[in-house]
Symmetry: C2
DNA sequence: CGCCCACTTGAAGCAGCTCAATTGAAGTGG
DNA sequence: CCACTTCAATTGAGCTGCTTCAAGTGGGCG
């Protein structure tokens, strides 16, 4: 757990609280709770009441939605500093679940508490709005993608997006996804099946664009992935130079 | 155009401004502008700078997104009272376009003006957040639908959604969509082609579930449409009684 | 009245899904 | 350290829902 001092220092980095002075931050911190969970456990589950707002401090969280018939959709990953999930301000049930992909720590405010804070410090509300607007915009783009693009391009986009959301580790000079990521996960991100993802990745591996193993994925030629995502020349041929 | 008095009376109905007193409303109204446009004209277009926030007063607006290759996606319709579109608070370009489907009137605030209003009247920001959260939630649901459901069910869902967003007119006892709605529009809403939509509607028409013509659509058996959307029994057989 | 444009319908092709069998890498326990 | 288990990943074969292309049809508006 965290001491107050430590918490305030943390919160200073959080985009949601930008523009607040030290005193304000201290007040906001006083209203917060802290929650830590293990890998594969949930901050909240689809169907339970949405009574809190989270800001991820350490770890990595994935947001998923599932249907009655056990079809799952992977909406996005949350990186440290990001807010999740302002689904409802009125005590409606969550329509998604938040699962830690490894040990994670989040700062939590009850919804009524957060609303009170926003009334008192309006810039929090404006920051939240900014974050929500960005989310909405990204999701709209993905929606368009899903409606108009072929699978291969969607998978390429998913990899590029993972670079931003999930982060990468440098390993022997290449980008390695910093998340345990199965074919199933990628399929659920792009609206396809794990078989199709496997075939696509196999093709890219043959072309030297990526390296991959069990829950592991490394991009050898970022520019080639970009080319596939954007319909540039040189998409399938492996004649691109690896960047880095 | 509108007088101040009239404008204030209007703004009292707007969810975005709920919780404000008469004086506050008057101040908010003073900072607003008013814009009226004809059918088929745009409040804003994809690519231009997002420097304003709109609240629709009268008419009907559709939000669309298009790709470089002229593929279009119809994101949603805006009904009077709704806010559109808080895409960006920072002067980024719009990633969508807002087109009037008939003569429309909207109240407009410049983005910096609206941010200042939110700082002054935090409940506006909270209301905006509420609206954004609802949008995000709905879009996530549609994203999941697009990723996991067949076309026929997506079209059924689109009709149900239109009932809420676009409104219906009662005509000889049946629900008629209150928007000029082509097969192409429905295709762009559901991520398919106008041909497939045409075939699906033809089937429903044979089963007596709908009536349809040129840019016209009437639902004869709402419960049958619901059944198709939700995978209930009695989906394709026309043995349901019309509600109403 | 005649043209335009939304809509319909058929036929062919294919991208991606489904099912099934196999491989192989990472634990696990003796 | 090796046998065993487990589970992600691969790959083939067949199928199908949907797209694509092309040719009509008919309602509505100028």
């Amino acid at each position: 757990m965290l001491e107050r001092q430590q918490l305030v220092r943390l919160l200073r980095q959080v985009p949601l609280l930008h523009g607040l002075g030290p005193n304000d931050l201290s007040g906001v911190a006083a209203a917060a709770q802290c929650r830590e969970i293990e890998r594969r456990r949930f901050f909240f589950r689809q169907g339970t009441i949405a009574d809190a707002v989270y800001v991820l401090n350490r770890g990595r969280v994935k947001l998923t939605q599932s249907t009655p018939k056990q079809a799952h959709v992977l909406l996005r990953f949350i990186a440290p500093g990001e807010m999740f999930d302002l689904t409802s301000l009125d005590g409606q049930p969550y329509t998604l679940s938040a699962e830690a992909t490894r040990w994670s720590q989040a700062v939590v405010w009850k919804v009524p508490t957060m609303i009170a804070l926003m009334e008192r410090y309006p810039s929090i509300a404006v920051n939240a709005l900014r974050e929500m607007a960005a989310r909405l915009q990204e999701l709209r783009e993905r929606y368009r993608e899903l409606a108009t693009e072929r699978v291969e391009r969607r998978v390429a986009h998913a990899l590029i997006r993972l670079a931003r959301e999930a982060g990468w580790r440098r390993e022997s000079g290449f980008s390695l996804v910093d998340i345990p990521l199965s074919r199933q996960d990628l399929a659920e991100m792009t609206g396809t099946t794990l078989y199709t993802v496997s075939r696509i990745l196999a093709g890219w591996r043959r072309d030297g664009i990526i390296e991959s193993g069990r829950q592991r994925l490394a991009i050898l030629q970022p520019s080639a992935v970009q080319a596939i995502a954007e319909d540039l020349p040189g998409a399938t041929s492996g004649d691109e130079k690896p960047k880095t």
